[in-house]
Symmetry: C2
Subunit: 123 residues, 2 copies
């Protein structure tokens, strides 16, 4: 349901937060739905439960999740709206990636070609 890259320099808890936001953005998780449990997600991702707990705690502080002790974490009603606002951050991330690719010497033709390829391969 969710994937991370342990080798990435991006902190795992940040990847988890982005992943959950992405699930909502794609409609796989809706406001009112129960998010995966901390221990269960930690086991499936093979990371420490504290790392997942930290991501969930921060998402709860933002109002994205509603934690019910002994029950689980529920996607809040604001989540959908927050995901829209979060698009700015997503845009910033892609912006940085484009700059990095250019600094790395990837020609614009290759950039354009890659965009088309990814688009074509999408479901």
């Amino acid at each position: 349901m969710l994937q991370i890259d342990p080798a990435s320099p991006v902190p795992i808890n940040d990847q988890i937060k982005a992943g959950l936001r992405g699930l909502v953005a794609r409609g796989l998780l809706k406001p009112g739905d129960l998010a995966p449990s901390i221990r269960g997600l930690a086991a499936s991702l093979k990371v420490n439960p504290n790392t997942v707990a930290r991501a969930f705690r921060e998402l709860a502080l933002e109002g994205f999740l509603e934690s019910r002790r002994g029950d689980g974490n529920y996607v809040s009603d604001k989540a959908k709206r927050q995901v829209q606002q979060n698009l700015g951050g997503v845009r910033a991330g892609l912006n940085e990636a484009l700059l990095s690719a250019r600094r790395g010497g990837l020609p614009w033709r290759e950039v354009e070609a890659l965009v088309q390829k990814v688009r074509a391969e999408e479901p």
Copy 2:
């Protein structure tokens, strides 16, 4: 001549290595050329000289640079070839960023718009 993003989770020394490879990829630095000095580059990037020294040392180990103590770091003859192989990694990185942006819910027109914007703002 070289740019980095101190706020990025990508280690600065990795950014410096990528930047130097990029300069060669773009033809701004050729085999035989003298690379920027460790202290000078550290000053212009506003990072610690040891951080730059580490990047240079690793590039020298890879055979990308040739260090001449008391003189400077020269771009090796193999550098050009190494950069070509490295482009695959750069492409893979951008590919992953595009997928992440899509998972984050960024529409295709926004992706296209961002590509054009970055391209337009480039020196």
